[in-house]
Every structure is written in C-alpha cells, then in structure tokens.
Amino acid sequence: MLHYFLRRLAALVPVLFLISIFVFLFIHALPGDPARLLAGEAATQEEVESVRKALKLDRPLLTQYVDFLKNLATGDLGTSLRTGEPVSAMIARAFMPTFWLSVCALAWSLLFGLVAGVISAVRRGSPGDHAGMFLSVSGISMPNFWLGLLLMQFFSVNLGWVGTSGFDEPSDLILPSITLGAGVAAVMARFTRSAVIDVAREDFIRTARAKGLREKVVIWKHALRNALIPVVTMAGLQFGFLLGGSIVVEKVFRWPGLGSLLLDAINFRDYAVVQAEIMLFSLQFLLINLAVDMLYGFINPAIRYK
C-alpha cells in the first residue's frame, strides 16, 4: 500500500505537467482580451495597445508558456495582470478564508448528513424519513444565493445576531458555511441513507445484534462503517469542490476567498491567476482523491491496490 501511495504521489508530477499545458491552452483559447478588459470599455484602441504592451501580452504564445513553466518550476506563479501583485501572495491571502469556510461547511454538513441519513435509513418510511427527504430536497433545490440572502436578511438585518458579510471574526463563518453546506448536507444525507439501507440486512449486522450490541453501535459502527465507501467518495468530491471556493456564496457574503479571486480573474481574463488557481485546484483534487482512495483500503480491507 505504501508502495502504491508513493507511486501515486510520484505520478502527480507528470499529471500536473499535462494539466499545465491543458490549462494554458484552454485559457488562451477562451474568448476575451485581457488588455481590453483592463483598459475598460470606454478606452480607446491606443489605450488598449499600451496596456497590452505593459502586460507583455504581445509576445508569442509559446514564449509565454515557456516563461510560465520556467517560473512554475521555481515556484513562482507569476504576477497578476490586473493588480500587478504576485499571484502567490494573492492566493496565499485567499486560501485560508476559503479553507476555513469549506472546512466548516463540510464539517456541519457531513455531521448533519450522516446523522440524518442514518436515522432515515433506520426508520425507513417513518415521518422522520420523510422529513429528511423533504429537507434534503429543499437543500438541493434552493439555490445558494437564495438561501444566503434569506439567511442574511433574517439573522443579520432583522435580528442583528451576526455580521452580514466579510470575514473578520469566527462568527462570520456561520451564515456562509450554512449556505454552502446545505447542498452538501442534502446529498450526504441521501447518500448515507441509501448506503446504510444496503448493508442493514447483511448477515454480519445480524451477528452484531447477536452479540447484544446496542442498536446504536450496530448501526453507527457496524452498518455505517460498511456503508462508508460511497459516503466518503461523495465527501471527497464535495470537499474538493468546496476548496475551490464557491463563487456564489463568496460573492453574496463578500468572502475574501479563492472563489471571489477566481471570479475576478476569470472576468478579467487574468491568465496568471486563473492558471495558478486551476493548478492549485487540480492539485487539491488529486491529493484529496488520493487520500480517499487510500481510505477505501482502510474502510474495506478487501479492496486491494496493485
């Protein structure tokens, strides 16, 4: 397994290299002219050209890619076309807010999703199960901006319990993480429910009961652990998503995170920032999924990797 792990880790390097080519080509293939965007719609063509020169965007694409790669190899992510700031500084600043937001969102939604899912599974067909389904479906069909604005109106404007937006203190995490986690919680709950139902009738669950284990232990330990694989898969996917920063939630809550950064960067075709962010997201995804893959082996020892 260690071997497998190390091999997978080493395989990341060529994968990232391929991603870098793909990302570079992709971004430059997108319609949009950063020089024009920076100069503004009201700018004259001369203004645009001077911006283009200043940004060194007038050079051939290959030269730009080679530069990008050279810099990347030395750990330099380049400078933002838009602000002239080093990209690494921008990402470093935006990373933690997004990290905290996604960790909080994931934590509560996992907790809620697991609990609700297991309870629904155990009480299949009961009013509680139906309520769980109702909540989950609400969670998934309520768009983030809707829920976010609603929560903000109620808890910040009307009740004044927490600030509306921004990230200055821990309590600012509450509303955005609820908003962000709602969809995740919904999916997790439905997933857990389905997975637990799948294992609840297995013989080894009967064995667990025969030992006289408390129903809680039977369900939460024996059944859940066996049901965990799809759940962990989903959680890994969601965490990957969340770490990319939710553009909508970050926008609504004025969150100084990767999502906002990315949105601005995309809007302005700020190539260096978009490239760097996608590379970062890819790396995150690769690592999270690697971790999830390793977890499979721990959760279900019959799963082997060669």
Partner: protein
C-alpha cells in the same frame, strides 16, 4: 418416501421465467408513492404541452401596465417584471427545464457509470487515466469549463445539455468506481467469473446493480442542480435565449426583486424545481428499493 415432493406450503406456483428486469418491474409497480411521483411528473409535462389551450395567458405575453403584481385570482403566481404571467411561464418552462435537467444528467450518468465501472473493475492504467481526467474536469471551475465548451461548440440548447452533462460525468464515475472496487472482490463476482462470465457481463449484470442505489440517489439529486447550472449558462450568454421561459432563469432574475418584497418571482419557480426534484427523489427511492430484493419482505 420422496423427499422432493411438491406438497410444501410455499408460495403460489409460477411457471414463467422472470428475467431480472421483469422481476424488477414487478417489484417496482408495488411502490405506490414512486408511481404517484412518476405520474405527477408526467402530468406536469402533459400540462406544459396543453397549457396554451387552457391558460388565459401565454408565457410571452408582455403587459407593461401590470408588472411585478403579486399572486391574484387572475395571475395565480403573479407577474414578473415584464408583466408576464408567472404561472404560464412555469408550466411552459416545465418542458425545457425537465428536459435539460433530465437529459443532461442522463447523459452524464451513462458516461460516468461506464467510465467508473471500467476504471474500478480493471484498475491499473485505465483507472489512472479515467480518474485523472475526472480530477482535472473537477478542478476546472464550472463557468470556465462552460465558457470553454460553448466557445468550442457554440451556444444553444444541445450544447447546454452537453456542457451540463460534462459537469456530471466525474462524480458519477467516482461513485461507481468506489462501489465497483468493493463489489469486484465479492464471492458472487468470483463465482460469476468461475462460471465463465465475460467481463462485460460481470460488470453490468453483477456489479452494476449493486452500485445503482448510489447512482440513483445522486442522479435524482443532480437533476435540480442541473436545472440551475443550465441557467447560469444562459446567463453568461451560453445557454438558451434568456427570454425563453425556464425555471432556473426565472429564479435568477427574480432574485433582484427578492428583497423588495416581490417574493413570488422566486418562490414559484423555486417551488417548481423543488417539486420536480422531490418527485424524482421519491421515484428514485422506489427504483432503488425495487432493486433490492431484501427489502421485499417488509
């Protein structure tokens, strides 16, 4: 004394052979809630089709003297900023929204399921390639991917569906792969192999039904997300024309008026999406229960 006599008081005799599919159908039709949900969805579609003949307003009838009015006897769900009847638009949008939501997820699911099965079952380099591709697809921010896809393929309904389908593929692939990894180690898969089953049969008949529960759950949840995603595409100029009635678009434009107390602009399209997703979920639950014979005897 014949031990194999037929006198035991077991279930009524049935001589016909039942394929796994007919078995599944037999068990499915007993789930009343699921049938009702399916019926409701069809009803909604049917209403959408006959709406022009039964409703007093068309979805594209503008009335600038009567904008943003709340629900009334005349306009059941009120009117929007152009004075168009929201109820008519919702009914009319049912076709498109359900079509986009359902079709795109279906395409994504089919591709994802096959990719996930292959990756999980064969493992090795195939697994690496499929999963790394899906990692990268995931890492690309949705809008960027959408802009890219539409930049390559052009705007339009078909391409929206393709774009949304592409978003869904990686998740399905991962879900299926994870289930496959476990199921391929089971004894009954080994038994099928010992009986000489080719890989395709093992994957699709023996492993797939085991992961289908999770697939169905994700599928039904994903439909709502897809309706909303398709909308965000039309908002960056990549989807269907914004004037076409479509739930997600109605919901998005309505948000501007939300704080101004015009809740009906968002509420009704939201409700439509909610009901659709709910129905698909109930339907999905019925399907997944029907797939699990052990739940039969409850």
């Amino acid at each position: 004394m014949a031990l194999a006599s037929d006198t035991s008081p077991v279930v009524p005799k049935e001589k016909t052979a039942r394929s796994p599919f007919s078995e599944f159908r037999r068990r499915f039709v007993t789930r009343r809630a699921a049938l009702a949900s399916g019926f409701f969805l069809l009803l909604m579609l049917a209403m959408a089709l006959i709406a022009p003949w039964i409703l007093p307003f068309g979805p594209d009838e503008f009335d600038y003297r009567n904008t943003l009015s709340g629900p009334s006897a005349l306009h059941w769900a009120g009117t929007d900023e152009f004075g168009r009847d929201i109820f008519a638009r919702i009914l009319n949008g049912a076709k498109l929204s359900m079509f986009i939501g359902f079709l795109s997820v279906t395409i994504g699911a089919v591709i994802g399921v096959v990719a996930g099965l292959l990756a999980g079952y064969y493992g090795g380099w195939l697994d690496s390639i499929v999963m790394r591709i899906s990692d990268v697809l995931f890492a690309f921010p949705g809008i960027l991917l959408a802009i890219g896809i539409v930049a390559i393929l052009g705007a339009g309904l078909t391409n929206v569906i393709i774009a949304v389908a592409v978003f869904s593929v990686p998740a399905f692939a991962r879900i299926v792969r994870s289930g496959t990894l476990g199921l391929k180690e089971t004894t009954y898969v080994e038994a099928a192999r010992a009986a000489g089953a080719p890989n395709a049969i093992i994957m699709f008949r023996h492993i797939l039904p085991g992961v289908l529960g999770a697939v169905i759950v994700y599928f039904t949840m994903r439909i709502g997300t897809s309706i909303l995603t398709a909308t965000s595409l039309s908002f960056i100029g990549l989807g269907v024309e914004p004037s076409v009635a479509e739930w997600g678009a109605m919901l998005s434009t309505g948000r501007e008026y939300m704080l101004a107390g015009k809740w009906h602009l968002t509420f009704f399209p939201g409700l439509a999406i909610f009901l659709t997703v709910l129905c698909f979920n109930i339907l999905g639950d019925g399907l997944r229960d029907a797939l699990d014979p052990k739940l039969d005897d409850n």
